[in-house]
Symmetry: C2
Subunit: 211 residues, 2 copies
Amino acid sequence: MRISELSLKAGVPLTAVKYYQREGLLPEGVRSAPNQVQYGDAHVRRVRLIRALLETGGLSVAATKNVIASLDADGESLAETFSVAQHAMSTPRTAESVPSDESRQRIVETATSHGWAFLPENPGITAAARALDGLRAIGFDPPQPYLAAYAVAASTVAAADLKALDTREGADAVAELMVVGTVLGDPLFAGLRRLAHEDATHTLRPTPDTK
Amino acid sequence: MRISELSLKAGVPLTAVKYYQREGLLPEGVRSAPNQVQYGDAHVRRVRLIRALLETGGLSVAATKNVIASLDADGESLAETFSVAQHAMSTPRTAESVPSDESRQRIVETATSHGWAFLPENPGITAAARALDGLRAIGFDPPQPYLAAYAVAASTVAAADLKALDTREGADAVAELMVVGTVLGDPLFAGLRRLAHEDATHTLRPTPDTK
């Protein structure tokens, strides 16, 4: 197909496709005539993946290049590519506070006690530990059952996320859902949590006990 | 106690406490001498709640005033105050896309099938539906078991959140945890989800099936 059809099929504007190419993110097509280049389905998948990384994932062009290089590298598994994408997506764009060692430790303990295997540089540790610091700052030091409930819920969601990857054909499509699902799973869960909260508050005592 | 001690006890800078007072968020203390005003523990709790609403919740001064007025109104339950806070916190500060009716419908159906009672204006519907639209845009239309897993996880977390409120003494302290917990529960969960993801990817097939 020509580049205009590639744009149409991927659902990405032609200007964006040309931009990806100029930035070295999208491989050249095959020249079939002096003034004609042909693209295949692999290009369609790649264009959509690039868009997912740049737009949904909020990655820089350089970080997107790294993720794609990891995906194309021989011998690198999808799990390794996912790790590269996870780290790139979590890179703070503004300086954020460093969580306390104590909160980091509690998050690591919570995860370890659920039998999870992960590297100490997983960006989730920092994110969760920072939130824990915020809760402790208002005098709420979450008891173990509270953190365990969050971990059980995270396991439930992660299992569903992983299962969803089976519906995808091809490494690019799997990687695309890994990235988009990682980013959008957060607001999907947060939205449902708001609904569950409203439902749960119906059981709250009707009047405040003190003012 | 004097205002300087109030600041110290609440862990909020004196300039901030004075600002809250000037904005009409914090009630006056009791004048005990021509040049001396006394504050009580209720003021300490209130200062911390205001800070939680303004800083963690990201509310405007006007929205903070509404939440506090709701908390102080006779006959209004904590559940009602929570609803006011939830809505204020979810008010988009930038224009965001309106989700499709179909995605809204699917979120409502998912929540309803879990027996949740909620109002149609709960801001969680929009947040979750918008995420669902994003997933569908990359050709992943989540099957019912996927959304059900998210809903089950949200129930688990909401139950833990609700139980945590029992550890708080006084309506201001409960409201403070409601707001801070709503906001910080999101990154706490997201961080643990990243760790669960890394663990889950260990079971992924080692090499991509297609390139």
